[in-house]
């Protein structure tokens, strides 16, 4: 559905080469039809520029961008405008027209495509129902909550039956609960309409919750890409590990573990990582039954991704060194990740 080949974007701010900023650096990737694809990175990583090249708001300095069979990076004028009807976008700050009511805001893209008035009215009513804004049709954006505003944004984006929906930090201005309800709405739309969704974010929570695949961006490059569960299982780059930690480990984990290492000079503190089905096996019970060990659960968390669950568990085990080695061997056989945390 979307193919990027060797796409770069350089912003020139001065005459000299050193004044220019490479926002996107030679990115190639493909996004399949019906997929929810996430791009994660800190601010300044180039993800905003990247998503803006998908609908031609930015033109790449080199490389090609093909979306829904059209080379967005080449076309201009009316053919670009027509292509944009199929690639719609929602924004972090919603970008609604304050001078229009909910109904009129949603009708705006339909006015652009020139739909007759009566059909426009019908389509707007459908959309209001789809995003769950019944009863708020005649409110102005200033009278709506953040979540409701984003629902208007989504309805507006879906008005012309696009093939691709681009989400530019669409939940970053919302509180956690509202974020979840908007994410659920996006999944629902993705399933019901078969829409391809590309979203950029700096929150791993968003990726975990709805994405099929994720690309991690740093300094204009995609440093890691793959199915969300795989990236959670084996994060390779340090930046990816940091993002994965955002959702798998409570913030105070590091301190807790350090404290434990001090308190228990004997035995080992072990981090276990469970992915998919292994997260549901009674590993600890087996450990206690089969080995002469004291097992102490320190801290744990299970996260649900779209394709399975992912969890981490910190335990402290104590007993004869030989027995500990056997136990570690046993855990590895259960397809559970093991990492012995040492005091350093």
């Amino acid at each position: 559905m979307i193919t990027l080949s060797n796409v770069s974007k350089i912003f020139k701010s001065g005459l000299k080469a050193k004044d220019s900023i490479v926002a996107v650096d030679d990115i190639s990737l493909t996004i399949d039809e019906g997929e929810i694809f996430g791009v994660i990175g800190y601010s300044g990583a180039g993800k905003s520029t990247l998503i803006r090249m998908l609908n031609g708001l930015e033109t790449p300095s080199s490389g090609s961008v093909v979306v829904a069979g059209k080379e967005v990076s080449k076309i201009k004028g009316s053919s670009l405008r027509k292509a944009r009807h199929e690639i719609s976008m929602i924004f972090q700050h919603f970008n609604l027209l304050w001078s229009r009511t909910v109904r009129e805001n949603i009708a705006f893209p339909l006015e652009i495509t020139g739909l007759p008035k009566e059909e426009r009215r019908q389509r707007v009513n459908e959309l209001i129902k789809l995003v769950g804004l019944e009863g708020r049709e005649d409110a102005y954006p200033s009278q709506l909550s953040g979540g409701q505003k984003q629902r208007v944004g989504i309805a507006r984006a879906l008005a012309n039956n696009p093939k691709v929906l681009l989400c530019d930090e669409a939940t970053s201005a919302l509180d956690p609960q509202t974020t979840d309800s908007i994410l659920e709405l996006l999944v629902d739309i993705n399933k019901r309409l078969g829409l391809t969704i590309v979203l950029i974010t700096h929150e791993m929570h968003v990726i975990r919750k709805i994405c099929n695949r994720v690309a991690v961006m740093e300094a204009g490059k995609v440093v890691e890409i793959g199915p969300v569960l795989n990236v959670f299982k084996n994060p390779e780059q340090p930046i990816t590990k940091r993002f994965v930690q955002q959702v798998t480990e409570p913030e105070e984990t590091k301190e807790t573990v350090e404290h434990l290492l001090d308190r228990f000079p004997d035995g080992e503190v072990i981090q276990l990582t469970f992915v998919g089905e292994s997260a549901e096996n009674p590993l600890i019970t087996q450990l206690i039954r089969n080995f002469k060990l004291d097992v102490n659960i320190v801290q744990g968390k299970i996260s649900q991704t779209r394709d399975g669950s992912y969890g981490t568990l910190f335990i402290h085990i104590d007993g004869p060194a030989e027995e500990i080695d056997h136990a570690l061997e046993f855990i590895k056989q259960q397809q559970v990740g093991v990492e012995v945390i040492s005091n350093d």
């Binding site: 009807h85 006015e111 652009i112 681009l166």
Partner: protein, 222 residues
């Protein structure tokens, strides 16, 4: 009673002069509104980072606006005499004042329009572009409606300035309340005429401000 307080005031003349002032103000406000928005839009759209970014055109319009905004109005009228004679064929009467009134106020209003347009959230324009809107659609359906409260409060300020300009134009022969206050009141030393003319001008200004504020608050849904 009123006759005793204002012995020299001819109410017919006051009414006539008021009509002339209102006529000059109304026509020049209407033309200034359209011309100022057109100029303001051009200033905005050709500025850096906008749809028609063009340094040269922006520089030319900007210079034009700055020059005509800086010339004191009374001097502008004199400077424009040949131009007025050319298009109006006369220098006497309300119509003769119109070119100077419009040329004096449109650049002033254009700057206010530009400021109003700049205050529109850039994201809203980007959203319209992402929907595949044409520039004309963006102008008519985004830029103008989204800046309308600023455009209205700007034209209110401009209209009040224009009432003052008509008085100045009156002094050199355009008619209206300024003309009356100067010729009948000042030059013949009839202070009651000057006073009444002033009160009528004040009333006109208050009414304009009231209407402007009313429309602005009705329009503003933020």
């Amino acid at each position: 009673m009123i006759e005793n307080m204002f012995p020299n005031v001819s109410w017919d003349r006051i009414l006539e002069a008021t009509n002339e002032t209102l006529y000059m103000t109304a026509i020049s406000v209407a033309v200034t509104f359209i011309l100022g928005i057109a100029l303001g839009l051009l200033l905005f759209l050709t500025s850096k980072g906008n749809i028609w970014e063009n340094r040269m055109i922006n520089g030319i319009i900007s210079a034009f606006v700055n020059i005509f905004r800086s010339i004191p109005f009374i001097i502008l009228i004199v400077l424009l005499i040949p131009f007025t004679m050319f298009i109006m064929q006369t220098m006497i009467g309300e119509n003769a004042a119109l070119p100077a009134l419009i040329i004096g106020s449109a650049p002033f209003y254009a700057r206010m329009v530009e400021i109003g347009l700049r205050e529109i959230d850039k994201g809203v324009i980007e959203a319209a572009r992402s929907m595949g809107a044409k520039t004309s659609t963006i102008i008519w359906k985004v830029l103008l409606p989204e800046s309308m409260p600023a455009l209205i409060s700007g034209i209110t300020v401009t209209a009040i300035a224009l009432v003052g300009y008509t008085a100045m134009a009156g002094v050199i022969g355009a008619g209206g309340l300024g003309n009356l206050a100067y010729l009948e009141g000042f030059q013949r030393n009839r202070n009651d005429v000057t006073l009444v003319a002033t009160i009528v001008v004040l009333l006109i200004v208050f009414i304009i401000q009231f209407i402007g504020d009313l429309i602005t608050s009705k329009l503003d849904k933020r």
